[in-house]
């Protein structure tokens, strides 16, 4: 006889909380500090350029939504991690106004350093969040399951200690050798699922800088994409629910004092979506390639995925269980963006 039990069911499916989903999340800009210092005209020009491709993304989404009325939300990502910014009081208004003058509406403003700071404890009151000690970046890193090179068995321990993640087999280290010893032959790196020839990628996820861990732009952008796809959970709970954007007078001086995801448009479709579209300058292609390499190796909670696939099916949509297949891009001319500065 099976006694009274407080056991959670063996599948994680019932635990993972469902969150609202749009059909499409369109990223209208990912702004780094050098660009964020620019005058409003810079942003009006940026959003005007983006507008052409946003219209295309919208049209494609409408055509792909069998029952009509697609839910589409727009967002911009503010890099408050790698550089010093103007206060939210100034910057948020500047961006929203510029978009509106260019004929676009920004539904959500998101600050990037939110994925580095600790996630909110699931039980806590949203008004007074308590922190669990884990950041979104750490939650994603914990879910990395490395792409194994040929002849890897389960005996290979995970190599997460280095902060590097690749898509194949590295070239063996060729250091200077002791005198009188023959140098070891050079061997090429190889990509695991190469099509004829390899395109080997090795990505720095983080670097420990003294006592602080500095996450890479690629890793944070991977977290960002997973967030937009609505697949991140902490103990089954939504990680950073959107908060309404405070009135201009109530905006704080520091970005850190704001929730990570701010809803700027009260009528906006949900922030997370079945599919994500990023419209950006070709300059960002290497970062996005790195993001895709990381996302290929993130094992998302199967319970969350199954629910999203099932909900999509209820709406007549075929949703790929591989998250990386739910992200699209338009690499286009968006004006003179500088992106992140080297160094």
């Amino acid at each position: 006889m099976i006694g009274e039990s407080e056991f959670f069911e063996s599948t994680a499916d019932d635990r993972a909380k469902a969150i609202p989903l749009a059909h499409l999340s369109v990223e209208l800009g990912h702004f780094y500090s050098p660009d964020l210092r620019q005058h409003e005209d810079f942003f009006i020009e940026h959003f005007r350029q983006i507008g052409f491709y946003y219209a295309a993304a919208r049209a494609a989404c409408e055509a792909a939504t069998p029952r009509g009325n697609p839910r589409i939300s727009t967002c911009v990502l503010i890099d408050d991690y790698f550089g010093k910014l103007e206060s939210p009081r100034v910057l948020v208004r500047k961006l929203l106004d510029a978009a509106s003058k260019a004929g676009l509406e920004i539904d959500y403003v998101v600050r990037e350093s939110g994925s580095v700071h600790t996630a909110t404890a699931p039980e806590s009151d949203p008004a007074e969040p308590t922190e669990t000690g884990l950041s979104l970046a750490e939650l994603v890193e914990a879910r990395l399951v490395e792409d194994p090179p040929p002849d890897t068995t389960a005996a290979r321990p995970p190599a997460r200690q280095t902060g590097w993640l690749c898509n194949g087999q590295r070239s063996p280290a060729t250091k200077t050798h002791e005198a009188m010893k023959l140098p070891t032959a050079w061997l090429p790196p190889s990509e695991n699922a190469a099509v004829n020839h390899s395109i080997f990628t090795d990505i720095e996820l983080w670097r420990d800088d003294g006592r602080q861990r500095v996450w890479s732009c690629a890793m944070l952008a991977a977290v960002w994409q997973l967030l937009r796809l609505g697949v991140l959970r902490n103990d089954g709970h939504e990680v950073v629910p959107p908060h309404p954007l405070p009135d201009a007078d109530d905006l704080p001086d520091a970005w850190r004092q704001l929730p990570m995801v701010l809803r700027a448009n009260k009528q906006a479709a949900p922030f997370s979506a079945y599919r994500a579209m990023t419209i950006c300058a070709p300059l960002f292609l290497p970062v996005e390639h790195a993001v895709r390499t990381i996302l290929q190796q993130v094992a998302v909670d199967p319970g969350v995925l199954a629910k999203i696939v099932a909900r999509g099916a209820d709406e007549g949509l075929t949703i790929s269980p591989a998250v990386v297949d739910r992200i699209q891009y338009q690499f286009v001319d968006t004006g003179p963006v500088r992106g992140a500065v080297p160094g």
């Binding site: 039990s5 063996s10 068995t153 389960a154 005996a155 290929q296 094992a299 269980p321 297949d325």
Partner: protein, 315 residues
Amino acid sequence: MVLFLGEVQTAALRHSGGVPRQVAESVLALLAGERVRVSERPISYAVSPATLTGVDCRLLARSGAKVRSVGTITGRACLTGGRVLQGSAAVQVDPAGGGFRRSWSHYLARPGVVEALGRTDLPGTVAAHLAADRSSSTMGMGAFCGRLLTEVQGSAALDQRPPVRARRTVLRWAAIIDEKVENPKVRFTIGEDGLRTLRLVLGPAAVGDIVDLSEDLALHDWLLTALLSIIEQSQIGVEQPAQTVLRLRPAVDHLLHLWMPAARLGGFALSVWGGLESRPGLSRQWDASVRRVRDQMAMAAALVDRLPERTQLFR
């Protein structure tokens, strides 16, 4: 026909007493952001979140044929009674064919499945899996289980003093799911090198239930093995009763209350356990061993009024 393979390694938790629920939750937290699941009835039990490891290696068949197989193996650690720790790995072998490897996201979308890229011989794979010796398990599953155990055992929350000295046991299992099977078939064997094997032929069954069954069987097999080893070391009839009782004491303190076959199981697993109870009859042997321990205790108690024994017993 669907094939599942797995391995379970069982050992005493390296801690001097049973650990409470909070400690169990902290040592089994193997995946950030995922909860350790616990239950207190009918016996205290905690299980880590599932972890995955990627493989791209040769899968052997009995005939010596090898087929390249790519995918992920699921692993987890569980703790019963706050005392007995298990590392467990399981995988579904899917004869996908195709001959070429796909992008890794394809495999991560099917966690716990390894796709065989060439011609497969599933019965031959079962035979090779179960016949391999203790140290060379299919696709490195044994090393994976061992790593899970090491990760938990190394926790700073444990005092590294296991109260019971018993060898880690290895149970390797294979389950063939065949819709047409009405009565489950089960074969449990103990090899010369101490390797336990479990071969199941089942009707429709969920992999989670098969893993639960394998872990439950491995747990009880380990309990019995540990108890027999303690009884053997106690040198009943050779040593003075007081000495014998002292050596039997860890069994009374740490093992005897943990015997609860199929406590959390249902469905086909109950009938498999039923079969195992009639032969080899694990519970019969356990009951006999427990009676033996208690008889020694009773005898020592009867002798307690005699001064020499008492000084030895209650030092």
